[in-house]
Amino acid sequence: MLKNILQVLRELKKQKLRTFLTLFGIIWGTVSVILLLAFGFAIKAQTSESMHGLGESICIMWSGKTSISYAGFPRGRNLHFQKGDAEFLRDQVPLIGNISPQYSRSVAVRVKDKKQSFNINAVLPEFTKMRNLVPRMGGRFLNQLDEKKRRRVVFIGFDVEEKMFGKGNGLGKTIYIEGMPFTVIGVLIQKKQDSSYNGRDKDAIYMPVSTYLGIYGDRYMDNMVCKAENVEYTDQMKDDIQLAYARKYRFHPDDTEALGIWDTTENEKFLNTFFGGFNIFLGVVGVMTLIVGGIGISNIMYVIVEERTNEIGIKRAVGAKKHLILFQYLTETFVIAGLGTIIGFLISMGIIALTNQLPLKEYIGTLVLDPVIAMTTIIIIVMITLAAGWGPATRASNLDPVIAINK
């Protein structure tokens, strides 16, 4: 076996141009598959990460205007979320896992002599889980005690910190919101966010609902954010919310304009479908290239078998069985393909490393040689090699020894 491989390598060394041309097909194919899929996966991961900046599988709700007259009310009635609505829904719809009201307003903020206006958002502690508001090391998000004790604490976006305190300097400092001092208990970590409502999280300030209402006493909340206990039941949850709400505010259960729900799982579904198709397309393009490489190998193997007809005849004459010859030529095909694959992988890894040095992260993210891609590529190569080697190897093993030995 080892001897066999060494002999193949010797043969390859002797026929340099032929070897190069043969290997080139497989190298080219390997590089194509790996790079195309690496790009595809990286772009998907990048898009997915920015999308999750808003939160994963959440529903954002707004109150709207009725569009169907119902129970004696005319259509066109304005509805508003009111204090207690979040608790009401939590109570009525068991499928809800997390829910938080969100009150917001634009306020003047001051730190020492720096003044600027920002959006403040009053939310419950569970808002952090839904909206991916992760605090940087050392800080934390708002908690139940803050809520209960109406503490004057805020969690701020990283841009707020940078503008008011300078990068990395905000934690534990005091910030003045319309003249009232608040302590910064947490700063948002760097994150990407490609969609938003009420502005980006990096520019926002978060405070407990109780604190906010104590100061401003808003009658209506701006919106609510909720997430199903189990993502699979999101659709059912939305229906249940619509019904519960229609009951409470007496609008027609089919009135789709009374309550607006933005379901981000739909974006997710679209993203998965789109990139699924995109990556299949890239994969197919790569596999096509590999198949062309496989055809190249197959051709070369036919030539090799032709050249070694006499050798095969000799081996058969001194007792080599058919399957041994078959195995020998399949092995040889695999050695060539294996060599091409290894070189292809090395080149791909080089290109991936180089590309990651380029300032393209914003668009394509970080390329990685994903183990799944690597394994898939190898499995495809093995199948193509088997197909490429089978013809020549069976021809070799089926040669008539009498004819072969006289060649």
């Binding site: 010797r10 050798e311 000799i314 058969r316 001194v318 007792g319 058919k322 041994l324 009498v402």
Partner: protein, 224 residues
């Protein structure tokens, strides 16, 4: 040991059918030294290929050790060629990239012999044919006579029941041919069974049986 009864071989080349053997009867006993002579195209090589189980007869019965070859499948025939037959060809038929040692070792590899035993056996045989000094040489580094010795060693290495030699001295000069013929005679005297296609008078002198093939038929079979 070998019993051939009305062996016929027809090559079907599409339009025309070529009858290479037209009813050959032949018996070979253990320890025989048989020579086969005849003009080219008389079917000598076809006969050798059939005896050596490289080819199957179209008609007739060939029994090797009382067993009819007809019923063997390809794997069994390969085993027979490996274990019971030793081929020596006119043009040596050595693997060009392999050393003398590796060429001789090849049948043992196909037989699945273990490494240590293999080494002993190959060295012993190469020594027997007088090539112990040239084990590592490739065929293109060997003279014609040395190449044929390697081929003979390869034929002998599995201790075959019969050695088939197809004009083994045909490609050699007179003196070298003489040495090779001498080696065959020694091997025969040691108890090997040999069938040889040759026109060499030295061989016919020693051989107990001489078969003359003409047009695919045995013309005369002399018995000493």
């Amino acid at each position: 040991m070998i019993d051939m009864n009305n062996i016929k071989k027809v090559y079907d080349t599409g339009k025309i059918q070529v009858e290479a053997l037209r009813g050959v009867n032949l018996q070979i006993e253990e320890g025989d030294f048989m020579t086969v002579v005849g003009p080219s195209g008389s079917g000598k090589s076809t006969l050798m290929n059939i005896i050596g189980c490289l080819d199957k007869p179209s008609e007739g019965e060939y029994k090797l050790n009382q067993k009819s070859v007809k019923n063997f499948n390809d794997n069994q025939l390969s085993e027979i060629r490996n274990q019971d037959i030793g081929f020596v060809f006119q043009n040596f038929n050595l693997l060009p990239y392999a050393s003398a040692y590796e060429n001789v070792e090849m049948p043992l590899l196909f037989a699945g012999m273990s490494g240590k035993k293999r080494r002993e056996r190959v060295e012993y045989i190469l020594d027997r044919v007088g090539l112990s000094e040239r084990m590592g040489h490739k065929p293109n580094e060997l003279s014609g006579g040395q190449k044929q010795r390697v081929a003979i060693a390869r034929a002998l290495v599995n201790n075959p029941k019969i050695i088939l030699a197809d004009e083994p001295t045909g490609n050699l000069d007179t003196k070298t041919g003489e040495n090779i013929m001498q080696l065959f005679i020694e091997l025969w005297k040691e108890g090997n069974t040999i069938v040889m296609i040759t026109h060499d008078p030295r061989a016919t002198k020693y051989s107990e049986k001489a078969v003359k093939l003409i047009d695919g038929k045995i013309k005369n079979q002399t018995m000493d």
